[in-house]
Amino acid sequence: MGITWIRVFLYKLITNRNLLKNLIIRDLKQRYVGSVGGFIWSFVHPIVLLVCYTFVFSVILKLRLDPKVGTDNFPLYLFCGILPWLMFQDTVVRNCGAITDNAALVTKTAIPAAILPIATTLSNLVHHLIGTIILTVTLLFFHSINLSILWVLLYLPILIILAQGLGWVVASLNVFFRDTTQIVNVIMVFWFWFTPVFYPIEMVPDSFRPLIAVNPMAVMVSGYRNAFLQLRQPDLEHLLFLVGWALVVFVVGALFFRQSKSAFADVL
């Protein structure tokens, strides 16, 4: 049964690949439509972020990290962590509107509804890749770089699957319950500060460790860091933990979406 679903799903994706491509292009263009700078803004945002971090943390606060964590350059450390987090957060938040913002497509055309959240996620992926390129270039100049960066290719698919899993849920919840977007935004603020992005995981007091330990994004963030800053090889235990989370969330989310999508056209 499960195999059939996956086959049907993949078949639909392939037959609608041109639609998917055009939806992604539309989504990317939509962010900057009418602006003169256009796609350049996708590069400007992460660079500005990087410059600001450097100013605040290195110039003003003069933060120096414990050499144990791999680098004493705090802005770079931060950027490595915030990159996967932003991919995760943007994907989940923007998926809230994946169905509701495209009500006309869902109620007036016969496209498979599932393609809309996927298009949203993949368009976010493009921005993530831009951020990744900027980080890589920066590391090349201010740090060093070697093949360990390729471990990111292992984390990235897991990150996409995890975010898409939540994306399924919020996309369909928002159809019935428009407060979903606000709730998701609030949860994301909590989730962000309880994920070691701004601080090394080693600084977390022992009593809070369990909270961090069950947080897949904590593992994801340190995985990205380890890869970019050549700290440690990913260990199997962490990877299995992440894959487990991602698959469970994805399957539950997909089932939820599948179950509720027949009502979309009725409610929208």
Binding site: A104, K108, A110, F176
Partner: protein, 438 residues
């Protein structure tokens, strides 16, 4: 083998008081219900032959659009079996995938991919789409800069260039200018001759007549009649007109009317359920006057007090105009002008002209004036009412307020009308001479 077979199709919508009720019900896992069921379509069974053109008619809320959505595969039926032997590519609403921020060209590509086309297939069709839509250089400008007509032209052009096996259209042919409508209809005739199956919903019986060979009449969610267009449309009109007559005969005197002119032959509760004072004006194209009075609302009603958007020719209607006076007016005169689609005056009248002199009014007075009109047998189409209030006599007056084209009413033909209107006529012959053969 029929293209589309519907077997006992029903669709029930769950009506929720609030959106969150929907969630509550989902979370209670079937233990509690928060909805009231509404059956939009019930037990519809019919077949659509390949190459056939089927029109769907019916009053508002009779389930026409739901039925269309089910055939298009957008809405899933609650019960019943839908069998489709072929590929359906449907745009229920022309231009439904269009995004106003993007250019016409970008929208063509997206819309085509919704219908399953690759970009190269679309590219081949672009010149022909541009030619048909006649939007010129606008194709590279954002859709938000388009006029309504251009939007519809582009949307229609895209839809018909996508080699549809079946074209499903939900009343959109009535938009756009008259010349484009003609061209659309010619094009649909051509698609028909190429063997394309067409299913469309329309309120415009003339269009249904000219396009559809078979017609389905939906009534309260059920298929009332399904057969050759001539039979269905004439039966439909019979019932629609008959409905009106019954209401006239069923009225009895009751309650006090507003001011009426002396010879008004109207039973007193006819048009009785209309709100005393209207406060809605659907449209204002232009307004002028000295500001001594303000027209607050205009409405056109049928006998039972139902607000009308369309009416069968020859019916009796009530035009109610509600006015608030901002200053005192000595000899108020209220009236309206009726214009056709081309802006030509068809007829008009006012209280003085009908022999009713209204009393002088003070600032703050609010009145409603009813004109009970026996509509002539005007040709089908849209007609516009422009209400006005003046101060003075018929020859010498000062306009207090004039609202241009405030209310649009569609007139539907109950029989063919040659020229602008059909005039009550009796026919007789007078034999003057007979041929020699006799």
């Amino acid at each position: 083998m029929s293209f589309v077979v519907l077997d006992q199709i029903s669709k029930c919508y769950r009506v929720y008081g609030r959106p969150s009720d929907h969630l509550k019900e989902m979370l209670s896992f079937g233990r509690r219900t928060y909805h009231t069921p509404f059956w939009a379509v019930r037990d519809a069974s019919f077949e659509i032959e390949r190459g056939c053109c089927l029109g769907i008619i019916g009053e508002n809320g009779s389930g026409k659009s739901t039925l269309l959505s089910i055939i298009a595969g957008v809405v899933r039926p609650t019960h019943g079996i839908l069998e489709v032997n072929g590929r359906i590519s449907a745009l229920l609403e022309l231009g439904s995938g269009f995004n106003p921020e993007f250019t016409g060209r970008e929208n063509i590509f997206l819309n085509a991919s919704i219908l399953g086309f690759s970009d190269s297939q679309t590219r081949e069709r672009i010149p022909s789409i541009e030619k048909f839509a006649e939007i010129g250089e606008f194709v590279d400008r954002p859709l938000k800069t388009y006029s309504t007509g251009m939007f519809v032209r582009l949307a229609f052009a895209v839809a018909i260039h996508m080699d549809p096996e079946i074209l499903i259209v939900d009343e959109s042919l009535s938009v756009g200018d008259i010349f484009f409508q003609q061209r659309c209809i010619r094009r649909i005739h051509r698609l028909k001759s190429e063997g394309v199956t067409i299913v469309f919903v329309s309120h415009d019986l003339a269009t249904v007549h000219s396009l559809a060979e078979r017609t389905l009449w939906m009534d309260h969610g059920k298929v009332r009649m399904n057969g050759p267009t001539d039979d269905v449309v004439s039966r439909y009109l019979e019932v629609m007109v008959g409905k009106g007559h019954k209401q006239v005969m069923g009225t009895e005197a009751m309650g006090a009317p507003l001011e009426t002119s002396s010879d008004l032959d109207v039973s007193q509760d006819e048009f009785g359920k209309i709100p005393d004072f209207l406060s809605e004006i659907p449209n204002v194209d232009h307004q002028y006057g000295n500001g001594k009075a303000k027209i607050c609302g205009i409405g056109i009603f049928e006998k039972k007090g139902q607000l009308l958007a369309s009416v069968v020719q020859g019916e009796r209607i009530c035009v109610r105009i509600s006015i608030e006076f901002l200053e005192s007016v000595a000899t108020p005169n209220v009236g309206f002008m009726l214009r056709n689609r081309l802006g030509e005056d068809v007829t008009g009248t006012n209280t003085l002209f009908e022999g009713l002199a209204l009393d002088a009014v003070e600032a703050g007075d609010r009145i409603s004036v009813d004109f009970i009109v026996e509509l002539p047998f005007l040709r089908a189409g849209f007609y516009y009412f422009s209400p006005a209030v003046a101060d003075g006599s018929l020859d010498e007056y000062e306009m207090c307020e004039w609202l241009e084209n405030a209310f649009a009413l569609e007139i539907i033909e109950s029989s063919t009308t040659y020229g602008q209107m059909r005039v009550p006529t009796h026919v007789r012959t007078v034999t003057v001479d007979r041929g020699e053969t006799q």
